[in-house]
């Protein structure tokens, strides 16, 4: 690009002012011109002539500066004439000097609040949003229940292939990661427990700690957290991508109910698979604990099993597993709900996937706490 300079000279007489523009009026020289033209003062002269004969090159930025100056002077009550514009730049100037351009400054979106008020504003907004989302989620649960009951009455409407494939994706393929993590948690838990209990010479009670801890809380909670991160996010992303692609709308126009086609198979699949996953996680957790007890505490496996048997009563296993279907419903519903909230922009898929995972984890742990309170009240 030639680095030729932009020229701007001002000739003043009592009656008239002539602005002589020349050289290259391009964006590269716009900063300088912009500053000079903003400070321009033509005084009380009535006639202002803008002489453009010297212009050699001009782009839209340069054309805008001419148009802006002209408009500003006209607004101040001057009589402005543009003369000697080289014909090549006429169409450009005409394009820029359109009525659609009102010259009002762009108001970039920003908050009306600043500092601490902005902070409070955000908290308030988020709180109200969270409440609204909770209400909508309950509404969505109702909607899914109605559709679910309807499907129950005519089970042929249930999409078996979709259900099976979802069961595979949410359940079977989750086995390795759920198993491995539970195994490791069992090891860690046994080690930490043994370390503390050894001070009282009560190492053997590590088995009790492990049994109760894994079966009642850790197994189910770990599994729910892994599944929420794995499958809950996948639900949102899958359904969200379909929303962006207008597939969900296409479904509606074809007489298919997205709840029935998309949500029910996922909900049902997860509700069936999560308890099974929890069973597997419990097993792996106890296995890890047993190996650790054997290696670090010298408790042989048969002794471990005997101690475990005495520590547990018939209910212990079920108290953990019975929470799984509740967690499954929470994860599936939030995942699908956030997926259906996706708008037509791809960006919202990512945002709502994050939201879905955070929401389902929060709700899972909240419900788990409620179960603990309930069991405490029932003395079990």
């Amino acid at each position: 690009m030639p680095a030729d300079r932009a020229l701007l000279e001002i000739d003043r007489t009592d009656e008239a002012v002539v602005l002589r523009a020349g050289g290259s009026w391009r964006i590269a020289s716009a900063v300088d011109l912009d500053a000079r033209l903003r400070k321009l003062d033509v005084g009380s002269a009535r006639d202002v002539t803008i002489d453009l004969s010297g212009i050699e090159a001009m782009d839209t930025a340069g054309a805008w500066l001419v148009v802006r100056t002209k408009r500003a002077l006209v607004a101040q009550g001057h009589e402005v004439r543009l003369v000697e514009l080289p014909p090549a730049f006429e169409p450009l100037l005409a394009q820029v000097d359109s009525d659609a351009l009102d010259g009002k400054p762009i108001r970039h979106p920003h908050s009306r609040f600043h500092g601490f008020a902005a902070f409070l504003n955000v908290i308030g907004l988020e709180f109200v949003k969270a409440l609204a989302r909770g209400r909508d989620l309950v509404g969505f649960m109702g909607l899914v229940s109605v559709v679910g009951l309807r499907t129950l009455r005519s089970p042929r409407r249930l999409r078996l292939p979709a259900l099976i494939s979802q069961m595979e994706r949410t359940g079977v393929t989750a086995l390795p990661i759920v198993g491995l993590l539970s195994f490791l948690i069992g090891i860690v838990f046994a080690y930490q427990g043994a370390d503390q209990l050894r001070r009282f010479g009560a190492e053997i009670y590590t088995v009790n700690l492990l049994g109760i801890g894994v079966l009642r809380e850790l197994g189910v909670l770990m599994t729910a957290i892994i599944v929420a991160g794995r499958s809950g996010s996948a639900f949102t992303a899958e359904i969200g991508a379909m929303k962006v692609n207008e597939e969900v709308d296409a479904m509606r126009t074809l007489g298919l109910d997205p709840i029935e086609v998309l949500v029910l198979p996922r909900l049902l699949a997860l509700t069936l698979m999560l308890p099974l996953l929890v069973f597997f996680a419990n097993f792996m957790g106890l296995l890890g604990g047993a190996l650790m007890s054997w290696g670090a505490l010298g408790i042989p496996i048969p002794a471990f099993l005997r101690q475990l048997q005495s520590a547990l009563f018939g209910w212990t296993f079920w108290l953990g597993v019975m929470k799984a279907p509740f967690f499954a419903v929470i994860i599936a519903l939030t995942g699908c709900y956030e997926g259906l909230r996706v708008s037509r922009s791809a960006e919202s898929v990512g945002r709502l996937t994050t939201t879905a995972v955070v929401e389902s984890l929060f709700l899972v742990i909240l419900v788990d706490a409620c179960f603990s309170l309930l069991f405490a009240a029932l003395h079990i």
């Binding site: 391009r26 964006i27 590269a28 716009a30 900063v31 912009d34 500053a35 001009m58 782009d59 839209t60 930025a61 054309a63 805008w64 802006r68 090549a88 730049f89 006429e90 169409p91 450009l92 100037l93 005409a94 394009q95 820029v96 359109s98 659609a100 351009l101 009102d102 010259g103 009002k104 400054p105 762009i106 108001r107 970039h108 979106p109 708008s343 037509r344 922009s345 791809a346 960006e347 919202s348």
Partner: protein, 251 residues
């Protein structure tokens, strides 16, 4: 301005172009047409460096793109504007901020002037002034396309690549678009490489037309191509739509 020699590209296992040549002179507007899936958009994307050609040479502004280092490449990229099919606006930015991205990247302008230039571009492409603060997701497809054009024009680049610029626009907006391109060429000496299906655009603004057939380009003015015996070209220009677009010339 743009010189393609012996270009060969492949997408997956399908060879899209073989021994393809194209020259575009400064100030020329060349439209590429061709059936669906013949690789028109791929050609455009290859020229701007998004796809690596299998073989061949692409020169833009007399420089071979594959031989440039990163710094020189950035300089070339600042001198062309690209409009993608759906606008390809950054979804986390408003329209005005989108237009300001290339301005911000290449030069330090005061924010007020930058806003004004953004407003000028928005008016030029025929968007209402209040579109400036909207996010891409709040715009219709046609408006997104115009906002994309405004961003491509932000630096008044001497070379413009347009992928189906008028598809999805209503006829009035499409005609206004044609006028805009012609006006800009007159004042800025714009060179345009465009992919289109729009016969009106081809007739109104294109100096030459390149038809993508059998993995190569057949280039000529509209009148020349109309006499080409190739069946696809014949049915393209002499089909009912081609005829209608041409009759406007005489009527």
């Amino acid at each position: 301005m743009l010189r393609i020699r012996n270009l060969k590209t492949r997408l997956g296992t399908k060879t899209l172009h073989r021994n393809l040549d194209l020259d575009i002179m400064p100030g020329e507007i060349v439209g590429v047409v061709g059936g669906s899936g013949t690789g028109k958009s791929v050609l455009l994307r290859t020229v701007v460096g998004l796809y690596e050609p299998l073989r061949g040479k692409i020169e833009v502004f007399g420089q071979d793109l594959s031989e440039l280092d990163a710094e020189a490449r950035r300089k070339v990229e600042a001198r062309w504007g690209v409009l993608f099919q759906d606008g390809a606006l950054f979804s986390s930015l408003t329209v005005a901020q989108n237009i300001e991205v290339p301005l911000r990247e290449t030069m330090a302008l005061p924010p007020r002037l930058m806003d004004e230039i953004a407003a000028v571009k928005i008016a030029m492409v025929g968007l209402p002034a209040d579109a400036a603060v909207k996010f891409p997701s709040e715009l219709s497809g046609g408006m997104r396309k115009r906002a994309g054009l405004a961003r491509a024009l932000a630096l008044d680049p001497p070379l413009l690549f347009l992928d189906e610029p008028t598809a999805g626009l209503d006829p009035i907006a499409a005609a206004a678009f044609d006028t805009l391109i012609l006006d800009l060429r007159k004042s800025l000496g714009l060179t345009v490489f465009l992919v289109t299906h729009d016969l009106d655009t081809l007739r109104t603004i294109c100096d030459r037309i390149a038809v993508l057939i059998d993995k190569r380009l057949r280039i000529g003015t509209m009148t020349e191509l109309m006499d080409d015996p190739h069946p696809w070209i014949q049915s393209y220009f002499h089909g009912p739509r081609g005829r209608a677009a041409l009759e406007k010339d005489h009527g």
